[in-house]
Subunit: 345 residues, 2 copies
């Protein structure tokens, strides 16, 4: 089951909003449809959003039938629409920048078909990079997993959040493939329930032992010595290592710290945003109150109750044991080590 | 809206499992019906469970129509059934003990009707005590609330968890009645959503400003300086001050400690169990996996996913700033101070 699949002239998107109960696909043939799928969280997870946006950009070029001179301003509109879908995950902007660079390379090319081909190629390359990068994250991450490990994760940083394999769940997959005995506790991840719906589903499919918990049970598990390790994904990592990830991650980091449990972030380097000095500068998306007042359309709270619904929080780097990337594992001091890694080819 | 109301020959129980969407009542005329209502969490909250069990015990006597000599063994059966409903909240056992003591006082009384009257009287007295005790908890608790306070609470330790007024929410009510400007953040309290369904509803009814959050947002709120104080209820307090309360409470206590935020427990002294030395000796109820796999009957996770679903956790007393009771506020060293308070008349 793939989050995304390029069909030559359209992007097949697995609608993750109803998983695991309903398996629906959206065949996006326009950039607008891709933008909607990202906004509605049919496709979610920072790396998957990046790849989807790249394909959306390519579809934007494929949908253009005007004069070649008008392409640039059309593509700016496409870029603007896709970039406006979600503010926190930086992979979105990173992927769009790669696409813009590719478009710029085509300067002087007269044939629209050739430009389209180049852009589709770049989107394919972004997706292919993500596949490769996730395997490398798994390889590196495997080194910090002990022979038997009970691992807590949050949200879904799995195959469904990427093009394939996953970041945090990629590490867990790699550890299991290396013969280690892993057991995963998946926090259900209110309000959107990515842990209950996606992580539990994904791990069960792969026969990786998983136990579902409510998010508020994490501390109790740690108190009982049931957690050896926490691994989560990331939506944006600042230059100092502060990490924005799904709401609830910060609480887990504080709890892990209080219990002396290692806390790792697994993410591709495309998630690292050196232009953002620290976590306080990462924009945090707030989503609709309905996500708290309802669960799958079923009312669970007074309909008029005021709601605070930030989709992400920021974990300060001092609570992070290490950041697992395709280039290796970075640890404190992050300001120095992240920069070093990023300039390394 | 009352959790419980004695109707002379039956107990009117507000079914809290569907609130606030549906307001249903159960008219319990037998002890078995009361036991079921407790098991199904139609009535919940340690003090309310205690009062309901007391009325259930009285109904047990009212339903007995055999020879007076058989009453004792019948009442043992009643006691056993009611005591077996839920293991963690000690108010249940406390209330049943009061009822048994009252029955013992009737030794030698031949008239069943007289015995029944005594038992109903005792149940009424337990309920009346709870009303009075909650007001006193509110009065004492009010002293620790500043003139403007943003207060985080968990689960529902309100009027719906007691006979009237509430413990944690009683403190908040008292503070507002004293002219203080309070704002409450209510954690939704998965899996049973008592925060979303009951606390939000109760506070809105009383025009106390409330904002609903997912449980995993608490840390992020604290990090932003949005929480001045945490107040929760309790299901059982050990002799050393360790406190069992709704799952998630321990995580909040660790988070509050990490952020230097005062963390208070509000509970009647009937919640204190001096026979239990420490938190590790408090039995923790595990509930059905369905509570995690479904929300109001709607599937939100793979139906076969293994689930860990403890209903309570234990907060060590070192993380508790103070325990607010009807007899005053106790703080560390709890082993000494709780005992002192309990022997004081």
């Amino acid at each position: 089951m793939k989050a995304l699949e390029w069909m030559g002239d359209s992007l097949k998107i697995l609608d993750q909003t109803r998983l695991p109960v309903e398996v629906n696909y959206r065949m996006a043939t326009t950039y607008e449809e891709v933008a909607e799928a990202i906004e509605k969280m049919e496709v979610r997870g920072a790396p998957a959003i990046g790849a989807a946006a790249a394909y959306g950009y390519a579809l934007g070029a494929m949908g253009y039938s005007g004069e070649p001179e008008g392409l640039q301003s059309h593509m700016e509109k496409v870029q603007h629409r896709l970039a406006g879908t979600r503010p926190t995950a930086v992979n979105l902007f990173w992927a769009l920048r790669r696409m813009e660079d590719r478009l710029r390379d085509q300067h002087g090319v007269k044939e629209l078909s050739e430009i389209r081909k180049a852009l589709v190629g770049e989107a394919e390359s972004i997706a292919e990079d993500d596949r490769r990068v996730n395997r490398l994250i798994g390889e590196h991450g495997n080194t910090i997993v002990t022979a038997e490990a009970s691992i807590l994760t949050h949200c879904n940083a799995g195959a469904l959040a990427t093009v394939e394999y996953g970041t945090a769940l990629g590490v867990i997959r790699a550890a299991q493939q290396a013969g280690k005995k892993v057991h995963v506790y998946a926090g259900e991840t209110r309000p959107f329930l990515q842990g209950a719906r996606l992580t539990a589903f994904e791990l069960m499919n792969d026969q990786i032992p998983v136990t579902l918990i409510a998010d508020n049970m994490a501390g109790f598990l740690m108190q009982q010595g049931k957690i050896d390790l926490v691994i989560v994904g990331a939506d944006r990592i600042a230059a100092n290592g502060d990490t924005a990830n799904k709401i609830g991650t910060y609480s887990l980091a504080v709890l892990a710290h209080a219990h002396g449990i290692p806390f790792y972030v697994a993410a591709p380097t495309s998630t690292i945003d050196l232009k953002v000095p620290g976590g306080q500068d990462i924009p945090i998306e707030e989503r609709h109150p309905k996500e708290l007042r309802e669960v799958f359309g079923v009312q669970v709270a007074p309909m008029e109750v005021p709601v605070y619904n930030p989709a992400f929080d920021v974990t300060p780097s001092k609570l992070i044991t290490g950041i697992i990337t395709e280039k290796g594992i970075v640890s404190s001091p992050y300001s120095v080590n992240l920069l070093k890694m990023m300039v390394r080819s």
